[in-house]
Amino acid sequence: MFDLTGRKALVTGATGGLGEEIARLLHKQGAIVGLHGTRVEKLEALAADLGGDRVKIFPANLSDRDEVKALGEKAEAELEGVDILVNNAGITKDGLFVRMSDADWDSVLEVNLTAVFRLTRELTHPMMRRRHGRIINISSVVGVTGNPGQANYCASKAGLIGFSKSLAQEIATRNVTVNCVAPGFIESAMTGKLNDKQKDAILGAIPMKRMGAGADIAAAVLYLASNEAGYVTGQTIHVNGGMAMI
């Protein structure tokens, strides 16, 4: 089950905590993995840690539209066809809405949503031609529930869900599936900085009384990437310890 031998996967934001877990798991299951990130040294370190075998790195700045297009073309060429695209890269620029600047809105939407549109557009047509593909977008529980201070981020993550459902319907006949994984609170460098009071408040809202691990998210991504999930499209898998039951 869930064997990805011979499949080629591109994971954006692969040097972030979540992206790294996803890339590691897809690699472990046999995929040839393209690692996208912004910092070359971190990409090289991760590639080396994966043994340098079945791995390629693709540095690119997702705020730059030309670089996003070039990333798609390069990955398609160098991996000789991307079978699995994991749009994981995302940024936050939090702030209360009434004080939110245009720049903070624009930069979050640009990276979290527009870059996904552009990169996916580059890679979808070849997938359609091959009559096989898996597009997996990392959304968030707050894209569905909302979260004060994150109007831009929540809009982008909700946007991914609508985007995925539309694309899923358009290309379902070509055996290309499009789904989202929506993580809840995940242990990371960011949540590690929270104080005990903040942590207690978060855990109080999670029936499982613990944060998730990157591996929990990676497992959902692996499922959607696998042959076994071939009949699943347009869906959002919520991995959140029961925090929101949607």
Binding site: H125, M128, R129, E170, I171, T173, R174
Partner: protein, 78 residues
């Protein structure tokens, strides 16, 4: 048949997987050759690539048959 017509025909056969003798000038992509709306978009993209022409959406909407495609490309290249 002109060179353009031959190349158009080849693209249609390859893409839709239909018999060559079905791909005649008056054949409708959707009604006669079993294309769906996504196929027609892909065909237009394939024509653009093959012939180095740009086919705007409103023009693409009027390309319903093999003959329509050949005529459009001949005109665009003239």
């Amino acid at each position: 048949m002109s060179d353009i017509a031959e190349r158009v025909k080849k693209i249609v056969i390859d893409h839709l997987g239909v018999d060559a003798d079905k791909v005649v000038e008056g054949a409708s992509f959707i009604d006669d050759l079993g294309a769906d709306s996504l196929d027609t978009v892909e065909l237009v993209m394939a024509f653009e690539e093959e012939f180095g022409v740009e086919i705007p959406d409103d023009a693409a909407d009027s390309i319903l048959t093999v003959g329509d495609a050949v005529k459009f490309i001949e005109k665009a290249q003239a």
